[in-house]
Symmetry: none
Subunit: 219 residues, 4 copies
DNA sequence: TATGAATGAGAGTTCATTCAT
DNA sequence: TATGAATGAACTCTCATTCAT
């Protein structure tokens, strides 16, 4: 009798609520299995509102992708300004990433676990989001590593293609480690980031220092 | 007189044809967007046959996953027996992986690009497939690296948790690099594998040699 | 200071505005395709107002029909008093009709192009409107033609059934010629009326003079 | 228990049944008010069949329009070949028309009582159907009347614009008389046609003979 | 073995309509 | 008086699935 959850909210608030609810449902069920009805129910709202405000199921999904993408990009960008040395920046970036994934599991699922099976509009938006993230990471890597060698040795800077390569590898690895984290719940985001630094940074230092690996047969 | 494309084929052959067709369709369209009708059409067979042989759309998809998973696992396992040294085995494994992805694009898509949005049965099967692959890679890593140090120094062997960590990182990175490859078409599977070795192996050697990275603040 | 287009108008004015707007929309889109939202927008008013004043979409439509019907009936009635001879009255009636259709296109569309596809209440109202028009035309025809023969020969007067027949034929023809006019834009209302007189009146004169047509086979 | 109305009918038969049922429903309810569900029910068939065979509600409606339009056009065309003289042909045409409307009430409603309120595709098809009918009638009129005068007096032939005018008037009048017939059920199609001939033909004869009507004021 | 014919169940979407302010 | 916020109810359409032959 007493606690009707407040009606007549202003539009902006309701939109936010809808995206919140949608994120949960999309993340749990996937795009197709997600029923608009369930989103409504969880948002405590009726279907016409969703369509009035967002326009279509696709648009709701896109709104989710966009918001989470922006959040993650912002997070990464801020981390990149945190440390003084490139090493510190990469470290901060990795840590920020794993923290984001831990805290916004739903967002990450929506961003990275929805490849196929989705209309062009949605696929395009996801692609855009991923590129944005990749760009951020690639920049982190390139700018960071350009300073690895002694000052004045810009030759050691990673080229564009190399930086992209490392970017892809890092994002992919980090994404996959997301699963690893779920199976080792005691491992914190920081812990995971630390392991990655050990796996990646030490080698990179060497490589930039000139060390090269060649296949056994060709040595 | 007529040239109807062979009727009355034995069951095994028909099933294989169905899976072939289904793999293409699932890979191109995704699980939901894939219409059973299209699979039938491409397999040159009628719908009731598909249901008679495989039982349901889910079952068809599972059959695809299972077959491709086995193929990849076999490929990886064979690669692991190829070289003498652990280094050679990891190299062979990576190369085999990228070659598989290049040659069996559809299979890989079905295995790795279908996380959410799918019934429990399917999700379970995909999960099983991924674990199988991960197991293979983890083994590759652990067995390989256990010998990195001098003989007789098993202390440097990677622990279970560490090996799993590296396994996840490798698979994730490799998966993501799949996209990178598509954007750099001239880069062969071997080329990509080579880059990964440079990124991963050199560092790992150091780490196993005892080198440890610690965050800037705590040094 | 602000120039919001007049608020707090008296009810009668508002209703008139609503009907004006509704007429446009109904005429352009048809009853179903007409969105109440668009009517509101075009009337510069909010939805609850429309419902407060008119009650329902049906009621709005009925109000349109009623108003336009009255206008047309009035127009026809006035025309029927214009001329001295029956011939002149019919001529005036036809001219008035085509002028009305030309000048109140929307009204005519609402009156005559909405037969099916509409609830009973609306259908009833449309029917009533049409009967009113038909009555007017039938009277025009009967009273007119009753005098065609010499005075003192009431036998030539059209009977009720005949008058109704001619009334239907005239209204139908005139309605259809509405389309013809649209395809020959240079033809004025007067022009069209003239053609109809030539088509109808001359024959009618003969018929009332006793001439009868019989099918070829029965002569 | 005994009379399940035959299942597994060949496609062509089912399509015909669907159009039959649809015609009834569209005619009674109008395009929008007609629910596909009701069409299915009346056709003794399930919804997917309708969509499999015809494709959409619009397409079903269009199929109705097309079929009835063809029927009517055929009827008119045949009638036009029936008589020797133009007079006889016009008479046959009118009679055929009223008979068609009497026997295929639903078809006529679908053809002529669905002006506004309908998507472009449907509107286009209706328009096409109406033009076809109008063409037929116009031809009937023109070819007929060209011979009205004595042989060798082609000057009396109706010009294109005039013929179109008369065509519109005739179709409109006939359409409207359809309502008149419903209110005088004892009047047969032949009867109605006879009245129209009396109303139209006698006058037309005069007009083509050179008689012209001019407004009172200008004489 | 093989298939054309058929369907149950549910999805997204769009109104006209009404609270609550 | 006037309105932004909200909804119930219905509709078209699609798909995996199964008869009946």
């Amino acid at each position: 009798m007493t606690e009707k959850p407040r009606r007549r909210l202003p539009r902006a608030v309701r939109e936010e609520q809808i995206v919140d609810a949608a994120l949960e449902v999309f993340s749990q069920r996937g795009y197709h299995a997600a029923a608009v009805d369930e989103i409504c129910e969880r948002a405590g709202i009726s279907k016409p509102m969703v369509y009035l405000y967002l326009g279509s199921k696709e648009a709701v999904f896109i709104a989710c992708v966009r918001r989470e993408s922006e959040r993650l990009v912002t997070t990464l960008r801020e981390a990149a300004h945190t440390g003084d040395t490139p090493e510190a920046r990469l470290w901060a970036g990795l840590e920020a990433f794993f923290r984001f994934v831990t805290d916004h599991r739903d967002g990450w699922v929506v961003l990275h676990r929805h490849a196929a099976d989705v209309g062009e509009a949605v696929a395009g938006e996801i692609d855009r989001a991923r590129r944005a993230i990749m760009t951020e990471v690639t920049r982190l890597v390139r700018d960071g590593i350009s300073l690895v060698g002694e000052p004045g040795t810009p030759a050691t800077r990673l080229g564009g293609e190399d930086a992209e390569f490392v970017g892809h590898a890092l994002v992919g690895a980090a994404d996959s480690l997301t699963d690893w984290m779920e199976r080792h719940p005691r491992r914190s985001a920081e812990d995971t980031a630390l392991r990655m630094m050990n796996m990646v940074w030490i080698g990179m230092r060497q490589v930039l220092g000139g060390e090269v690996w060649t296949p056994p047969g060709r040595r």
